[in-house]
């Protein structure tokens, strides 16, 4: 019985964690380990307390994934403040959200090449 309760608790925890992570986060994580991509996860800490101040995830890749990423941004647009603009040969989508523990900024830059656009996705998680 104890084991069953523990398993159920773990399932709930996993489900909650997945829900907190939106589709942009999941896509970036999936694409981070594919070929022809560069993914940086930078953790900024307070050097005295070691407490995390900010996590920055930056994914650079080329090709088809830009469409999926763009769709993910559009799907998540309703969750926060969303803007889209075209500037100097690239499209920039930005989404800012917040919850009780973090402020998040998602930015997607897509170059205007038709067949093999270069995509740069940046996720900034600032701990309150």
């Amino acid at each position: 019985m104890k084991r069953l309760i523990l398993s159920l608790c773990m399932l709930v925890a996993v489900a909650v964690t997945s829900a907190a992570q939106n589709s942009i986060d999941r896509l970036v994580e999936n694409f981070s380990s594919v070929g022809n991509s560069t993914f940086t996860s930078a953790v900024e800490r307070d050097s005295k307390t070691h407490r995390i101040k900010k996590v920055v995830k930056k994914l650079t890749l080329e090709g088809k994934p830009s469409r999926e990423l763009r769709k993910a941004f559009e799907d998540e647009a309703h969750t926060g403040a969303f803007t889209e603009r075209n500037d100097n040969g690239e499209t920039v989508l930005m989404l800012t959200t917040q919850d009780e523990k973090t402020n998040r900024v998602y930015m997607l830059c897509i170059s205007d090449e038709k067949f093999y656009p270069k995509t740069e996705t940046t996720i900034i998680i600032k701990v309150k």
């Binding site: 380990s33 022809n36 991509s37 993914f39 900024e44 050097s47 995390i52 920055v56 403040a81 930015m107």
Partner: protein
């Protein structure tokens, strides 16, 4: 010391084969009052030698030993200093960026020293993006201000729908 031994030492002295101790023996012999008659001619000479600063035993490799010891000490100092600097730098990086990593073409790199430029570049870009994002609410404020100026609630609702 017997006169016979002194004569042998004197011969050895003039051949350049005496040790410091043997030379001291000669000086001591000639500094006492009475010496053998045939050796009297050497008294002044050895008295003069006794006044000279003591020469040190010469070792053929003394200078080389010192050079090697100096170089070895310098190398140890440099290596120790480099190791200490490395350790300090690692501690600093760990305190600031522990948990950071990079994946390039599917290969993960956790060495903070190696990926430090990429970490700092990502954080610098993030600061620029945060600056841009901070300007966004001003757009929402302007929209809100515009809607508040419109008196009619129905017009307000219609425009709000258009803006969104």
């Amino acid at each position: 010391m017997r006169d016979k031994d002194i004569r042998a030492l004197i011969d050895k002295f003039f051949d350049g084969g005496t040790t410091l101790a043997e030379e001291r023996q000669l000086y001591a012999y000639f500094s006492r009052g009475k010496v053998a008659e045939d050796l009297e001619k050497y008294r002044e000479l050895f008295s003069d030698f006794a006044l000279l600063p003591e020469r040190r035993e010469s070792h053929p490799f003394r200078g080389l030993h010192r050079l090697i010891a100096g170089v070895a000490a310098s190398v140890v100092l440099v290596v120790a200093g480099y190791a200490a600097w490395n350790f300090y730098e690692y501690r600093q990086l760990d305190a600031r960026y522990a948990g950071s990593y990079v994946i390039v073409d599917g290969k993960r790199i956790d060495n903070l020293r190696e990926i430090r430029p990429m970490i700092e570049s990502a954080l610098a870009d993030a600061r620029d993006i945060e600056q841009t994002a901070a300007e966004q609410p001003q757009t929402a404020d302007i929209e809100q201000e515009l809607l508040e100026r419109i008196g009619d609630p129905e017009d307000c609702a219609r425009i709000k729908e258009l803006l969104n």
